[in-house]
Symmetry: C2
Subunit: 206 residues, 2 copies
Amino acid sequence: MDELIVCNLRIGRGAALYHAGTASRHLYFIRLGSFKTLYCCEQGHQLVTGFAMSNQALGLEAITGECHACSALALEDSEVMSISYSGLERLAQDMPALQANLNRLLSREIRRSQHMLITWGHYSAQERLAIFVLGLSRRFAARGYSAHHFVLRMSREDIASFIGVRSETICRSITQLRELQLVNIEGRNVEIIHLAQLEAFCQRGY
Amino acid sequence: MDELIVCNLRIGRGAALYHAGTASRHLYFIRLGSFKTLYCCEQGHQLVTGFAMSNQALGLEAITGECHACSALALEDSEVMSISYSGLERLAQDMPALQANLNRLLSREIRRSQHMLITWGHYSAQERLAIFVLGLSRRFAARGYSAHHFVLRMSREDIASFIGVRSETICRSITQLRELQLVNIEGRNVEIIHLAQLEAFCQRGY
DNA sequence: CGTGGTTTTGATCATAATCAACGTCTGTGG
DNA sequence: CCACAGACGTTGATTATGATCAAAACCACG
C-alpha cells in the first residue's frame, strides 16, 4: 500500500493543489483542511464547482490521464495525500476490492453532480443557501464536529458562485434565513438555530 | 467477451429500461434509439437529467451495486445491450485496458455533469437552448447524420425540465432564436440556419 | 370528427441581477 | 499600536428575466 503514496503534501492557504489544464496521473485525498474546485473562464471569471474537506478525494475527473478539468485551491492551510493513479491501477488488479472502491468513489461523484444539478435547477436562492448550509452541517457532523456551530472557510463570493447566484443575493438570503429563525450567519460564523426546522425547510421533494 | 452480454433488449417507446430505486448489477449500451434519464420527486413531478443516444452508456451511476438513482425511459423504440457488472469486473481483472476504459467512461460522466452545472448556472434560457441544440447537432454529426437538420425525440416539456426552465420559456426562446436567424425549430424538426453563428452565440466563456 | 395532450402566445407577477453606496474586517508598514 | 489600503460584506433602488396563469391553436389518434 505504501508504494502508492507518492508523498504527503502541505498546501498553504490560497495555493493550488492542481491547475485546470495540467495533465495529471494522481488522485488526492485530503488529510486536513479544505479546498474549493473551480473552472476558469477566459474573462478571468471563476466558477466554483465544489468544496472538499478532510477525507474527501480530489482529482477524480482527471483519472483517465487526460488533463484536469478544474483547479483546486486550498481554503486554509491543508495536507493532502497524493496517490499515483498508475500505481493504483496496478495494485487494483490484484485487489478487486480496491478497484470496486475506486469505482464506488467515481459513481458517487456522478450522483453528487447530478443531485446538485437538480437542486440548483429547482430551488430558490434562499432554499439553495439553506441546502448548502445543511450540507456543510452534515459534513462537519460526520467528522465529529458540531452540526450546529461551525465556521465557513469560503467567502460569500465563493458560495455565490457555487450556488449560481450573485453575492448580493447571498447576503439577502442570509438575512432572510435569520428572519425565519433557521440559521444565524454572522461573518463566517454559522449557528443553526433549529436543525429540524432547517431540514424541513430544505425538503420540498428534491 | 460474449459471456458478458447478458442479452440484447428491445425497449418500446415510453417503456423503462430501468427504474429509480431498482437495485442493478448491469451497465447498458444503447445500440439503437434514444432515452431520457430522470429523477422523480414525491409530487409525481419528473426532472430530466439527460438524453442518451446510440453508442452511449446508461446506468453508470449505479455501478456500485447500490440502486439506480434515476429512471431511463425510451424516447423511441430502442435496442440496448445489457452487460453484467460483476462479469465486467471479473474480466477487467485480466484486461487492464478494459478497466481503464471503464474508468474513462466514469470520469467523462463526471466532467459532463459538472460542465452542465456550469452551463446551466451561468447562461440565460435562450443561450441554454442554443447550447442544447448545438449539443444535439454535434451528437448527430458524430454519428454520421446531418448536423443541420434533425428531428427532436423529446417533448418541449422534457427539454424544459432538462434545461431548468418552464416549457413556455422554451417556446419563447425558440421564437427568439428563429428571429436571430440562428435556428429554425418547427414542431420537432430542427434546422440550423448558420452553424458557425450558433457556435459563436454559445461561446461566452463557460 | 371530437377528444386529450401538446405547443404557442399574451398579460401579469415574482425573483434575482445590476448598479451604487456605504460599512466592516484584515493585514501591512510606519 | 495605529493608520491605511484593499478586499470583503451589507443594504437600497431599479431593472430584466423567467414563472405563473390563462386562453387559443395545433396535432395525433382513436
